[in-house]
């Protein structure tokens, strides 16, 4: 039996039943990003050069392409969740929903552009 009144449900008060999802995915991507981001940093530091030929040869390796895709997806999702929390805290009224949708779109766009770029290099590298 629910103790919530129909009115509170209509007004959108109380739980939207999505809080755990947000919380859990934020942690899940955080845990994934610990090794992924350290791997990326160490890779950048140990590459012999950062010119286009060296970087694209490195990106074309299937293992680095795979990890880069995971890094971009996990960071974009983690960032989207984090930015949403900040927006929810500081933006109010109708602007809040607009801002949340806008930032979600930006994050999806950034993730798609990143994955596409990695795949372009990785698939070109295959003989």
């Amino acid at each position: 039996m629910s103790l919530r009144s129909p009115l509170s449900r209509v007004l959108g008060m109380g739980t939207a039943r999505q809080g755990v999802d947000h919380w859990w995915l934020q942690r899940l991507t955080a845990v994934a990003l610990v090794p992924l981001s350290i791997w990326f940093l160490v890779s950048l530091l140990t590459l012999p050069s950062l010119d286009q030929a060296t970087v694209s040869a490195w990106m074309a390796h299937s293992s680095s392409a795979l990890l880069l895709v995971l890094l971009v997806l996990a960071s974009a999702w983690h960032s989207r969740l984090g930015v949403a929390v900040v927006v929810e805290d500081y933006v109010h009224g109708g602007l809040k929903a607009v801002t949340l949708v806008l930032f979600t779109f930006v994050h999806v766009l950034v993730a798609a552009a990143g994955v596409l770029a990695i795949l372009r290099v990785a698939l070109r590298g295959a003989p």
Binding site: L45, Q52, A76, A113, G114, V121
Partner: protein, 130 residues
């Protein structure tokens, strides 16, 4: 906007270590979100071939970009160590007043050490970053 007081209601509290570390976690997170744009721009420049990379290099190796990288390194080191602290807090450990204050201080210390280690690696090994 409701007239009742809303959640981040910071100005009435005295600053504490745990509060500052929590706020910094949020600010560095936003900085790293902006860094994600830079990462994807770089990936796109690499994918675009030698000419697009050369064009992007003008921006990516400008003095302003170097300042941004330094900021991103600091933000990354901090967000990583504070993030691990938050993950430990999520398991319900270390939440006593003294413990959380000590771990907040440790977070700052660890991130400073990480920044120094990365700075040292850049100084010694990364001739191509200069």
């Amino acid at each position: 906007m409701p007239t009742r007081p809303l959640s981040p209601h910071l100005q009435v509290y005295k600053l504490t270590y745990t509060m500052v570390t929590s706020g910094l976690h949020r600010i560095t997170g936003l900085g790293l979100s902006a860094g994600l744009l830079l990462l994807v721009y770089w990936l796109m420049a690499v994918a675009g071939g030698a000419r697009s990379f050369a064009r992007a290099t003008v921006i990516l190796s400008s003095p302003l970009a170097r300042v941004v990288y330094a900021g991103l390194v600091v933000a990354f080191c901090y967000h990583l160590s504070a993030g691990i602290r938050h993950l430990i807090s999520d398991t319900g450990r270390g939440l006593e007043r003294a413990q959380s204050r000590a771990s907040a201080k440790a977070t700052i210390a660890v991130s400073i050490v990480l920044v120094l280690v990365i700075g040292y690696c850049l100084w010694v090994g990364g001739a191509h970053f200069r």
